[in-house]
């Protein structure tokens, strides 16, 4: 555990792709027993460096050294053999195999005749799980039956089973709850104590400051700063990332709100939510806060016609509405931008313009025939407003970066010219610079007279953006705050059901 000689050094790594330099001479030194946070906006080259580290990409320049000796990875297996392992945002495990099988797959202990020694595999799996504080996990349990946090533990146990010296964690907390995140932090501490070198990639500043010892910042594939976490402040890191000082993060509210446009009364679902009422005015951003599983997304999906409510009424501009399908909702001018924009948002095999025009076919078609020129015009109008970066509108959405795919999805909904837009976790998983742009854009939508519902689990976002906040807890309306009345503490109290939460409505 010599702090001064790095286990792994990347020196001046350059990676070229046709027409673009993804990495331009970046360096990274990982030391045993240290957590290094890698920060940077989307597209800064974080995933590329992970792929270089794990042997998926071969660098075009620069050197990788392990214990001071230059190495070359020609396959992911080489990287694994050198003791480098990665835990990804979405765990890459096998749902239908057991915990022990997942831990040992590829390097299971062998018994006689070269057959897998199952008893030993399970025993040793138990030992490893015990070591990471997951002794309660049954090595024989099927992975499918475990929660996401337990799956992470299995992934980490797997990393330990191959005696990894370098553990790369690529946004490991993105899908975890608060409690699970705490458990993950403890694990990182334990890995540190065992003398492993950890590269931690995250968008969340609180966790970087919580667990990292050092930081490295990339910007546009180039090194933008590094040092000890103890010697840096959040604002400085943000500046290094975006290359400019971040001013007021949230745009100011638009002031005047318009007339009431949407009124929801006594909305209920057999299992997901119960007796929800709220109103929405033109120009307003209504925040929905709550813990994961509080029923916010389910409520919005029901308003959008994905599921049917068991009771309750919806009134739009004074007219009672019956929404039986998403098509009905879209026709009435209510749209929903889902949280899982990859899975539920874009059709990645289709070109950008077709994605954007997809819900607006009634407008782009004449006599039952879709006009490509109309689709292109529509797509151009809305993608330009969102400053989409793409080679052409013919490009397939799957070829775009995550942030740009997101813009395609939002453009698709705006192109339907809605009067009410529901954004579910609009900035989840996107970098800080893009976040500010999304926030500004939401405010712009509201100012233009749209009514915006924003489901968000990020307290600063809820407080900074919302004109009013509804807090849900276990499927029920827990509290309602006007702008300026809510504090982080009051939101958390209301969401968690701690007494003294202000009851209003």
């Amino acid at each position: 555990m010599n702090d001064d000689s790095p286990v792994l050094t990347l020196d001046g790594i350059t990676k070229l792709f046709p027409g673009v330099r993804a990495l331009a001479g970046v360096s990274l030194a990982l030391r045993a027993g240290e957590v290094t946070a890698l920060v940077g906006e989307n597209g800064a080259g974080k995933s590329t460096i992970v792929k270089v580290l794990t042997g998926i990409y071969r660098p075009d320049g620069g050197e990788i050294r392990i214990d001071g000796k230059a190495v070359r990875f020609s396959s992911p297996q080489d990287a694994a053999a050198a003791g480098i392992t990665a835990i990804h945002q979405e765990t890459v495990l096998f749902d239908d195999l057991s915990v022990a099988e997942n831990i040992w797959i590829g390097h299971a202990p062998r018994g006689r005749f070269g057959l897998i020694d199952r008893a030993r595999a399970e025993r040793e799996a138990s030992e490893i799980l015990e070591r990471i504080g997951a002794g309660s996990l049954d090595p024989r349990a099927r992975l499918r039956d475990l929660g996401i946090a337990s799956k992470h533990l299995v992934a980490i146990a797997r990393a330990l089973s191959i005696e990894a010296r370098v553990v790369v964690m690529d946004e490991p907390t993105a899908a975890l709850s608060r409690k699970e995140i705490e458990e993950l932090y403890e694990l990182v501490e334990r890995l540190k104590a065992e003398g492993r070198a950890i590269l931690f990639i995250s968008h969340k500043f609180d966790e970087i400051f919580r667990i990292a010892d050092r930081y490295v910042v990339f910007r546009d594939g180039e090194p933008a700063g590094e040092g000890r976490i103890a010697e840096v402040e959040e604002g400085e890191l943000v500046e290094m990332m975006v290359g400019r000082p971040m001013g007021d993060i949230f745009p100011p509210p638009s002031g005047e709100l318009g007339e009431e446009i949407l009124s929801v009364r006594g909305y209920s679902h057999p299992t997901e939510f119960d007796d929800i009422s709220f109103t929405l005015r033109r120009g307003e951003i209504l925040g929905f806060y709550g813990l994961v599983g509080a029923g916010r997304s389910e409520l919005m999906q029901s308003l959008f016609g994905i599921t049917r409510p068991s009771a309750g009424t919806v009134t739009l501009e004074g007219r009672p509405l019956v929404i039986r399908s998403p098509a009905d909702a879209i026709a009435e001018g209510i749209v929903y931008v889902p949280e899982d924009r990859g899975g539920q948002g874009a059709i990645t095999g289709l070109p950008i313009f077709r994605n954007v025009a997809l819900p607006s076919m009634s407008r782009t078609a004449r006599h039952g025939l879709v006009k490509t020129s109309e689709e292109l015009a529509l797509a151009r109008e809305y993608t330009e407003r969102l400053e989409l970066r793409a080679a052409s509108l013919d490009q397939r959405v799957g070829q775009l970066s995550g942030g740009n795919q997101q813009k395609v999805v939002i453009a698709k909904w705006l192109a339907t010219r809605p009067s009410v837009i529901v954004l579910d976790e609009p900035t989840k998983g996107i970098d800080i610079g893009s976040k500010a742009a999304v926030h500004a854009f939401m405010r712009e939508l509201a100012s233009a007279g749209l009514a915006v519902v924003m489901v968000s689990s990020e307290i600063p976002e809820v407080l900074g953006m919302s004109d009013r906040v509804v807090v849900m807890r276990e499927g029920r309306h827990a509290a309602m705050f006007d702008r300026g009345e809510a504090t982080p503490a009051s939101l958390v109290r209301a969401a968690a059901g701690i007494a003294d939460a202000r009851e209003a409505a």
């Binding site: 792709f17 673009v20 993804a22 989307n42 597209g43 080259g45 995933s47 590329t48 792929k51 975006v242 959008f304 994905i306 399908s325 998403p326 098509a327 909702a329 026709a331 929903y336 889902p338 899975g343 539920q344 948002g345 874009a346 059709i347 095999g349 289709l350 997809l358 819900p359 076919m361 009634s362 078609a365 039952g368 025939l369 879709v370 151009r380 993608t383 330009e384 400053e387 989409l388 970066r389 793409a390 080679a391 052409s392 509108l393 013919d394 490009q395 799957g398 070829q399 775009l400 970066s401 995550g402 942030g403 740009n404 698709k412 970098d431 610079g433 893009s434 500010a436 742009a437 999304v438």
Partner: protein, 346 residues
């Protein structure tokens, strides 16, 4: 999103016509067309008359039914389903139409053809409704209906054949009737191609097919009724199967239980060779057309170059595997492009 920082990357105003052309030339369709030309060229080295316009027109005419069926199957496959009952549908409708003609020769052929389309569509609707309303996997549904349809043919015909002499002359002659130098059968295939081009590329239904096959979940959120779209694809596939039922029995002037037995696999094979992804959402009309022509050419060419027709099966099978291998390779290449672009984006 930092405005101005990367202006060159922002969406270009022109729609990328040049890049689209380049992409087309490199595309699978172009490759397939090339393979088809090479195939015809190879046969022509042994039998030069094979490349004559008249012979090529005959090959096209002989492939017409396969083309029409492949286009119908394409709609179903695009929506991430599969229809194994097309040949059985064809045989059942063909039998009913032939028996009707034998029993009541006065019924005009146009009425019989429309009846065939309607019957086929109704049989397709059974598949579609089972897939839509009961949510049964399409392969299971159509495997079931394939067997049921064949069984019904036996029931309605008592296992007997309807032979040429029982059919009216008009019934038998329509597909052969020449119009502007081509038989009606060929014209039907041409019309089917044109119709499919419009349907797939220009109608909301066509757009919905690609969306449903490409990402069913996202399609739901876009306001597309996934089940209904799939059901319509099955109805369309059924309708062309029915039409081909009439064409088949009139062309070969015979109807019996085992008409077109196993032909559903040729149809699927034509689609697969044509680059239509079994996973849904990817495929073109040109691909389906050329896939069918490729199989039709092999079938017609082998006797010409004195290769036993038994080889035909082996060669068709090889073509399927080669086509799928090539497709898989090009998908992988696309995958790398995605990785690359994901890095450079945003």
């Amino acid at each position: 999103m930092n405005p101005g920082e990367r202006a060159p990357d922002s969406v270009s105003r022109h729609s990328g016509a040049a890049s689209r052309l380049a992409e087309t030339l490199r595309s699978r369709d172009a490759l397939l067309a090339l393979a088809l030309v090479v195939l015809i060229g190879l046969v022509a080295t042994r039998a030069p008359e094979f490349a004559s316009p008249a012979r090529l027109a005959a090959v096209f005419n002989d492939s017409a039914i396969l083309i029409v069926l492949a286009l119908g199957q394409m709609l179903v496959i695009l929506s991430r389903c599969i229809d194994l009952s097309m040949a059985a549908n064809l045989a059942l409708v063909g039998m009913i139409v032939a028996m009707t003609n034998a029993a009541v020769p006065e019924v005009p052929i146009v009425v019989l053809a429309l009846m065939a389309i309607a019957l086929g569509a109704a049989l397709g609707a059974i598949n579609g409704l089972l897939v839509w309303k009961l949510d049964i996997p399409p392969i299971v549904v159509t495997l079931g209906t394939l067997t049921i349809f064949r069984g019904i043919i036996f029931l309605v015909s008592d296992g007997k054949w309807v032979n040429a002499h029982e059919m009216s002359p008009a019934f038998k002659s329509l597909p052969r009737t020449e119009f502007l130098g081509l038989p009606v059968l060929s014209w039907i295939a041409i019309l089917a191609v044109l119709g499919a081009l419009v349907l797939v590329n220009r109608t909301p239904f066509g757009r919905a097919l690609y969306a449903v096959g490409g990402n069913p979940e996202a399609a739901v959120y876009t306001g597309i009724d996934v089940g209904r779209t799939r059901c319509l694809a099955f109805v369309a596939a059924g309708a062309v199967s029915g039409l081909c039922g009439y064409l088949w029995v009139s062309r070969y002037a015979v109807a019996y239980v085992d008409v077109a037995a196993g032909f559903e696999l040729d149809v699927v094979a034509a689609c697969v060779i044509g680059g239509i992804s079994i996973a849904g959402g990817i495929g073109t009309v040109a691909g389906a057309l050329m896939g069918a022509l490729f199989l039709g050419t092999i079938k017609n060419a082998l006797p010409v170059v004195d290769i036993s027709p038994f080889w035909q099966l082996a060669i068709s099978g090889t073509a399927i595997i080669v086509a799928v291998a090539l497709n898989a390779r090009s998908e992988r290449r696309v995958g790398r492009i995605i990785l690359r672009d994901a890095e450079k984006g945003a």
